[in-house]
Subunit: 146 residues, 2 copies
DNA sequence: TATTGTTATACTCTATAACTATA
DNA sequence: TATAGTTATAGAGTATAACAATA
């Protein structure tokens, strides 16, 4: 029995293996600053590109981040003119966020260049391995929001 | 076409989706301090439990962490008497690390209680979804070391 | 000279608590 | 009072650079 099997055969082993791999991948992804944007900044911008005119609170909930943390992410994106803030038409407390043309262009450019480091690692896998990850991706997405 | 599909159909989409899910999962896992040990500390201890008598350098390489970062992880584990350091028999520069009985007991206890938050989330998936993750886990492990 | 490990230092990401403005 | 957002502050995790000890 090899190690990968022993790690993932039981449910506890699956959780432990995933937890450790996720932490390690996260560390390595953070070290690869592909775009000038942190992973969190990129995620926020991409979410905003899909769901227009979100408030900071909605965006924080979507990304499972605390509002003050999101404030800083938003400030960094605004600083780079990748998003704009407009007042909510009826609720004076709220702010609406939208991606700018420059932000959309950056996202497009990123996708064109792909996510350099991770894409390269994916290319080194077999087609079958990639197929499994393609199936797993929406499950990981669901887990990350659960 | 739903969002998960559009995200994972292309290779760039797969990389982007995985990257964002991994970052979000990592954030949530870090927020769940199950054991008193951080994820990095747990990973180091578990690696040491499998491969006995590693040096700090080997452990850092194994976990894809820089040596000074690993120094701090090791110090925290030693402080809690979960590992011991012994001088290398022939190379005076090196140190050998080994899990203590207390460290092994902690790992065993952790596995018994499972990795609380993530295990709970896994229980909420269907059997089929878990089966896919079980296939994906060794691939993610491989990616995390690539 | 090269390698192992540590110390010093700093940066990024994120969190909690407290505050302001509006509802 | 309750909610949205921000500011102030702190902590965890990690990195790079510089150093000491040994090979």
């Amino acid at each position: 029995m090899n190690m990968a099997m022993s790690q993932t055969r039981s449910r506890a082993g699956l959780a432990e293996g995933l937890r450790i791999s996720i932490a390690r991948l996260s560390r390595r992804l953070r070290a690869q600053t592909t775009s000038g944007l942190s992973v969190g900044q990129h995620a926020a911008l991409a979410a905003l590109d899909r769901h227009h005119s979100m408030s900071p609170r909605e965006l924080a909930d979507h990304e499972k981040m605390q509002p003050p943390s999101m404030t800083r992410v938003i400030a960094a994106l605004e600083e780079q003119e990748l998003l704009v803030r407009t007042p909510h038409p009826t609720d004076g407390r709220q702010v609406l966020l939208d991606v700018t043309d420059k932000g959309r262009e950056l996202l497009r450019e990123q996708r064109r260049r792909k996510q350099a480091w991770l894409s390269q690692r994916l290319e080194e896998l077999t087609a079958e391995e990639r197929a499994i990850l393609r199936q797993a991706a929406p499950i990981l997405e669901k887990l990350s929001r659960a």
